[in-house]
Amino acid sequence: MPEVVIPIGPQHPALKEPVNFKVVADGEIIVRLELDVSYNHRGIEKAAEQRDFVRVVPLLERVCGICSHSHTTVFVKGIEEAMKLEIPRRAQYIRTIVAELERMHSHLLWLGVAAHEIGFNTLFMWTWRDRELVQDMLEELTGNRVNYGINEVGGVRRDLTPALVKASLDRLPYLAERIAKYTAMASKQRTMLLRFQGVGKLTEAEALKYGAVGPTARASGVDYDVRKDDPYLSYPDVPWKVVTDDHGDVFGRTLVRVGELVESTNIVRHCLENLPEGAIRIQPPRAAPKGEVLSRYEAPRGELVHFIRTNNTDKAERLDIRTPTLANWTSVAVSLVGQNLADIPVVVAAIDPCLSCTSRITIVDPEGAETGTMTWDELRAHGIRFYREREGI
C-alpha cells in the first residue's frame, strides 16, 4: 500500500478523550505523526484566579476525574507553604492514605485500559471490578467515590474513626491478593508479552531529553519520584521504595505500575496502622502573603506541578497547572515512529494520558475552518490588548 494518512480522533473508539493524531502510515508501519491535544480548553486556571482559597479547592478537584485528590493536595500544599503553616501530622497521614488509594484506583484503571487496547477484555473487566474495592474504601473514608472533597487549606475535612480504619484494613488483604495475581499476569500472560515487549521503546537518555515523568520515566530506568526526591505529606515516615525498571517499553511501564500498586497497598496499610492522634486541621489565615510557590506532587501519572503566585489577598494571582500528560506527550510522538499501526493505542495508553487536564488553547477560525496555535509573542500581545480593552486604558 502507498502512504496513507489515517486520522485518529478527536472521536475514536480507542480514545476516551478528545485528541487528534494524523498518522502517516506505510501499510502497517507508522512513518510520522502529528499530535493535536487542544480540543477541550476549559479555562480552569482563569476561573481559579477568581475564587478565594476556600472556593478554589472544589474547582481544582474537577481538573481531572481520576487525580482529583492530586490537584487539590498540590494546591493546598503550595498555599500552606506560602502561608508558612505547619499542618497536623494526622491530616498529613489522611492525605497520604487518600493519595495512595487514588494511585491504586488509577493504576488498576490503567491496567484495564491497556488490556482493552490490545483486545484483552477479560483483564479489563477484572481490574475494573477490583478497582471498585478501592473506590468503596475511598467512599467510606471520604464520603465520595471520585471527588473526595477531603482537602482544604490547613488540613483535611473528615476524620477517620477507628471503625473506618478497621474496615479499610479488612479490605486490604483481598486487594493485595488480586494485585499479586495481576503482577503475575503482567509478567507471564502470553499475548500481553507479545503486545507489550519491545513496543514504544524509550531509552533512558530519550526519557531525560523529552522530559518524561512518572511511570513512563521510571520504566526507562530514570529513578525520579517526587515522593522521594522532594518529600511531602508523610512519605518520609513510611518505609517504601521507588519502583523502576529498565525495559523502557510498554512492558516496563506495566511492571512499574503493578509494582507501585504493591507499594501503595503497603503505604496505605502502614499509614492506617500508624495513624497519629491529634487535630485534623488548623485555622489558616484568610490571605496569603505576597510570594511565588512551585508546588510539586507525584500524581499517579507522574510529576504534577502547580505554580502559584500569591498577592497578599485571599485569591491566587496566577495559577499555572502543568499536568504529567503534557510532560509525557513528546515521548509518545518519538516512541511511535517506526512502530506498527496496531501499536498506536497501547503506546498512547502507556503514558496513561489525561487529555482534558492537559488541553490548553487552540485558535479556531470558524469561517475558514482552520485551527492553529499562537506563538508566545502573539499570545502576549493578545493578552495586553485584552486587558487594555477591559480596563479601558
Binding site: 487496547e117 490490545i118 483486545g119 473487566m125 477484572w126 499475548t191 507479545l194 503486545r195 499501526l341 496496531a342
Partner: protein
C-alpha cells in the same frame, strides 16, 4: 427422500429455520459464557434476537460515492453462502444432499464471508474499512492454508470427499480426534481465525481501526453480516464436529429409528456446543495479536504442523495402517 420432505429439510429442520434459531442461540451462549468468565451478568436469552430485529429496522445509510447495489448485495452473498454450506453438514443422520466433493464446496462457501468483508471494506471508501479489509485478506492467506490442509486430513484417511461419508467412516472405526489430534487443534485455531474472534480479531480491532470493514455497514446490511458470522459459527463448529468428533452418528445402531434421530440430534447439539466452549475460552483468555506476529507464527508453526499432519496421514495410509 420425498421431494416435500427435502423441502422441509431445506427450509425448516434442520435447514434454515432451525439454523437461524440455533445461530442466535449460540450467539447467546457465547455472550453469556464470555460474560460469566469476565464476572459480568451477560444478556438474557432473547437478546440476540432483539438485537437482530432492532438492526433490521434501522436506517440503511450508503456512504457518498459508494456503489449502493454492490454494497447492499455483498452481505446477502455472504449470508447465502454460509446458509448453503450448512445443508451439506450432517445434523440428524447424514445429509440428504451429500455428494462426492461437498467438503470442498463447504470449505469454499465458508471462505466467502471473508472475501465479502474485504469487498465491503474496499467499497466503503473509508480508510478504516479499507485497512480492515486488507487485514482480513492478509489474515485469510495465513490461516486458510493450514485450516484447509487439516480438514482434508480426515478426507484422505477415509478415502472420500464427502462429509457424510467421513462421518459414516468414523462410526465404523474411531473418531478422527483420536487419530489426528494435531489436526483437530489446528482446525479449532483456524476456525477461531476464520470467525475473527480474539486473538484473531485483527481485521476489526476496535481500538485501532474502529470496526474495520464493518465501519460503514448499517441497518439490515449490518444485521445480515452479523447473522452471517453467527451462522458461520454454527457451520464451522458443526464441520469440526463432523470431521473430527464423529458427527451425529453413534457407532452402534439404535432402535427404533425416531430414537436414533433424537440421539443424533442430541449429539450434534452437544458436540457443536463443546466446540463453542473451546472457542469462547480461547477468546476470553487472550488479547489480540498483531498481523505481523500472526504472519510469523502462522507460517512458521501452524502451516508446518498442518503439513506434518497431512504427511503423517499420507504415510500411514500408504502403509495401510489406518
Amino acid at each position: 427422500m420425498e421431494p416435500w420432505l427435502l423441502l422441509l429439510y431445506l427450509l425448516v429442520f434442520p435447514g434454515f429455520l432451525f439454523l437461524l434459531t440455533y445461530a442466535l442461540f449460540l450467539q447467546y451462549a457465547d455472550r453469556k459464557m464470555s460474560a460469566r468468565m469476565q464476572a459480568r451478568v451477560g444478556p438474557p436469552l432473547l437478546q440476540p434476537f432483539a438485537d437482530l430485529v432492532k438492526l433490521l429496522g434501522k436506517e440503511v445509510i450508503t456512504p457518498k460515492d459508494v456503489d449502493a447495489k454492490a454494497f447492499g448485495a455483498a452481505p446477502l452473498l455472504a449470508f447465502a453462502a454460509v446458509m448453503t454450506a450448512f445443508l451439506y453438514v450432517p445434523v440428524v443422520g447424514l445429509s440428504p444432499f451429500a455428494f462426492q466433493g461437498d467438503l470442498v464446496l463447504v470449505l469454499y462457501l465458508l471462505t466467502l464471508p471473508t472475501i465479502v468483508l474485504f469487498v465491503v471494506g474496499w467499497l466503503s471508501r473509508n480508510i478504516f474499512a479499507t485497512l480492515g479489509g486488507v487485514r482480513a485478506v492478509t489474515q485469510m492467506f495465513i490461516y486458510e492454508v493450514p485450516f484447509f490442509l487439516v480438514l482434508l486430513g480426515p478426507a484422505l484417511a477415509a478415502g472420500t470427499w464427502s462429509i457424510s461419508e467421513i462421518v459414516a467412516w468414523q462410526a465404523d472405526h474411531v473418531w478422527f480426534a483420536v487419530l489426528q489430534p494435531l489436526g483437530l487443534v489446528i482446525a479449532l485455531i483456524g476456525l477461531q481465525a476464520k470467525l475473527e474472534r480474539t486473538p484473531f480479531d485483527i481485521p476489526e480491532a476496535e481500538t485501532e481501526i474502529v470496526a474495520g470493514p464493518w465501519t460503514e455497514l448499517t441497518g439490515r446490511r449490518l444485521a445480515l453480516m452479523h447473522l452471517t458470522m453467527d451462522v458461520s459459527l454454527v457451520v464451522g463448529s458443526a464441520l469440526v464436529a463432523a470431521l473430527f468428533l464423529g458427527g451425529p452418528l453413534t457407532p452402534w445402531a439404535i432402535e427404533p429409528a425416531w430414537l436414533s434421530v433424537l440421539v443424533g440430534f442430541g449429539l450434534f447439539l452437544a458436540k457443536t456446543f463443546a466446540v463453542l466452549l473451546v472457542l469462547t475460552t480461547i477468546k476470553m483468555a487472550m488479547g489480540r495479536i498483531r498481523i505481523d506476529q500472526l504472519n510469523d507464527w502462522g507460517w512458521k508453526y501452524l502451516a508446518s504442523l498442518a503439513m506434518l499432519q497431512v504427511l503423517a496421514v499420507l504415510l500411514l495410509k500408504g502403509w495401510s495402517l489406518v
